[in-house]
C-alpha cells in the first residue's frame, strides 16, 4: 500500500474541476440499467479515498432513485459522479482524470446486464446481478 496522492480532473469543457486523494486506486464499471442509460454504455468510476472528493463549478445533480444521485456538468453535459444519498459518497467518473489516474479496471458490477454487443477486456472480477446486490447488502427488489 502506498501513501495517498492528490489528483485533479476536469470535465470536457473545463467548467467543472474535481479533486480527490487516491491510494492504490482501481476503476470499477457498472452495467446496471440506470448507469447504462445515463452514460453511453457503462459508468466507470475511480475509487478515490472516501470523503476526499471536492467538486467545483456548475455541476448539477439528478436524484435517480431513493438512494442515489448522478452528477453532470451543466455547461457541457459531462458525466461527473454517481452518489449515494445516505452517506453523501460521490464516486467520480474515471474519465475526468488523465489516464484514469493510472488505475486498473478490477471490477464490473451487473456484468450479466452488459449488452451482448461489447465487453471490457482483461482479467478482473465480474459480479453478476445477484453477486453485486449481495456485495452491497441489498435485496433484488430494490432499484439501483
Amino acid at each position: 500500500m502506498t501513501s495517498p496522492r492528490e489528483i485533479t480532473g476536469r470535465c470536457l469543457c473545463g467548467a467543472v474541476t474535481v479533486r480527490a486523494t487516491v491510494t492504490d486506486p482501481i476503476v470499477r464499471a457498472c452495467h446496471c440499467d440506470m448507469c447504462r442509460q445515463h452514460t453511453s454504455s457503462m459508468f466507470m468510476s475511480l475509487a478515490t479515498d472516501p470523503g476526499s472528493e471536492r467538486i467545483e463549478g456548475p455541476a448539477k445533480s439528478y436524484r435517480s432513485s431513493d438512494w442515489a444521485e448522478r452528477g453532470f456538468c451543466d455547461v457541457c453535459g459531462s458525466t461527473l459522479w454517481y452518489g449515494t444519498t445516505n452517506d453523501g459518497a460521490r464516486h467520480l467518473a474515471a474519465g475526468l482524470f488523465e489516464d484514469a489516474a493510472g488505475a486498473p479496471l478490477k471490477l464490473e458490477f451487473f456484468a450479466d446486464l452488459c449488452p451482448q454487443g461489447y465487453a471490457l477486456a482483461g482479467e478482473h472480477k465480474r459480479l453478476s446481478t445477484k453477486e453485486t446486490l449481495e456485495a452491497f447488502g441489498v435485496s433484488e427488489d430494490d432499484d439501483a
Partner: protein, 149 residues
Amino acid sequence: MSAQGHIEGHCLCGAVTVQVRGLSDEISACHCDLCTRWGGGVQMGIEAPVDQVQWSGPVKVHRSSRLAERAWCDTCGSSLWLRGIEGPGVGCLELCPGLFENAAGARLTRVVYADRHPEGFWLDGHAVTRVPQREYEAQFAHLNEGANH
C-alpha cells in the same frame, strides 16, 4: 453495416425520447480526450442519418469542437448523442447505445483513438477494427488543426 427499422429509445429519467429509422447495427467507441472526459471513461455511438431521428424533451447541447456538438438530457444528465457539424460526421448523429434496450442489438465493430485508451482498461473484441490516433487524424486533415471530435 445494415440499418435497423423503426426503434425507440429514452434517457434514464424518460424526459427525452428518440424515434429512429435507419439506426446502424454497428457500435463505434472513441478514446479521444474529449470523449473520455465527457463519457466518464469510454464513449460509444451508433450512427443514424440526422433526418431520420425525431426527439422530444429537454435536450441541451454543447459545441465541443468545430466538428461536433454533444447533447444530453437537461433533467437527468444522460448522454444522448454527438452531431457532426463540419467534417466527416455531417448529416449523422452518433446516438448513445444506452438509449436503447440491449444497445439496440448493435455490436462494437470499431474503436478510434484506440491507442489512447487509459492504461487500465480497454474494450474486448476480435472482430473490432482499431484505428490509432495518427491513422485516424491522417484520414481527416482538418483534425490536425488542433480540433478533436
